[in-house]
């Protein structure tokens, strides 16, 4: 059950709004100030990736971001880009696999880079891609 849920229109201008909410909830859950910066960055990266995927697929549907306090903080960023267009589908693809002039390939490559960054920022990261879209789950345990 999400504590806070935000529907984000697929426009990169709104990604910063999601970052602000993430920071606010992180502080509310006693996450240390140093880690709050990681939350801000990771949620921004995950949400930016999902919004980019919607824009790329020409989808008007919102990206849905769920925040759960459980304890610590879990953030789930859901896009509704179906396979085979999902940019998260190929997250294990090595960097440098870029095909020039292939925007889909570039998006996938960027998604791989984003996941790599997320691994460095969150305590736990999981990516689930299905027929109905991709869910990126980020978790922070709170006080350390």
């Amino acid at each position: 059950m999400a504590t806070v849920r935000i529907d984000v229109a697929p426009d990169q201008a709104y990604v910063r709004v999601v970052r602000l909410v993430a920071v606010s909830l992180a502080r509310l859950n006693g996450i240390t100030e140093e880690v709050v910066e990681d939350v801000r960055r990771a949620v921004g990266e995950a949400c930016g990736r999902a919004v980019a995927a919607h824009c790329q697929a020409d989808l008007d549907a919102p990206v849905i971001v769920d925040f759960q306090e459980d304890p610590g903080l879990t953030v789930i960023v859901n896009d509704v880009v179906p396979l085979p267009h999902a940019s998260g589908a190929n997250v294990a693809a090595p960097l440098g696999d870029e095909t020039p002039g292939d925007p889909q390939g570039q998006l996938q490559q960027e998604a791989s880079a984003v996941i790599a960054v997320l691994e460095g920022l969150a305590d736990a990261v999981s990516v689930n891609t299905g027929d109905s879209g991709t869910a990126v789950t980020l978790h922070w345990t709170g006080r350390r």
Binding site: R16, G48, E110, A116
Partner: protein, 111 residues
């Protein structure tokens, strides 16, 4: 806070002072500014991010793109940054090996 960009010359170098947030929304403005400088023949660039509050992977991508462009013209792009929270993202992505990161504009143009 939106992105602010100020450009000035210091000897052979062009210093781009960036302020605000460099994210997926504002990064295209920075990309445009760097492309314009390269097109104008400015290949020795210092990007000063001391007044930047937030930098994401899109912003890093723009800096890497700028570096590639100036290097294609035998130029250089140096970064001025002392903020730990920004330096962390350079480290996580391994870009400390790609960028010369300086602690002041004076040291960047003198190196």
């Amino acid at each position: 806070m939106d992105l602010s960009l100020e450009t000035r010359s210091e000897g052979d170098w062009t210093v781009v002072e960036v302020g605000g947030e460099i994210d997926v929304y504002t990064a295209p403005k920075l990309r445009e500014a760097l492309v314009e400088l390269v097109n104008a023949g400015r290949y020795q660039l210092v990007v000063d991010v001391e007044r930047v509050d937030f930098l994401d992977s899109t912003g890093l991508g723009v800096l890497v793109g700028g570096l590639k462009r100036v290097r294609a013209n035998d130029g250089n792009l140096r970064v001025v940054c002392t903020q730990e929270r920004l330096l962390k993202i350079f480290r996580i992505t391994g870009l400390t090996k790609v960028f010369a990161v300086h602690d002041s504009v004076a040291s960047a143009v003198a190196a």
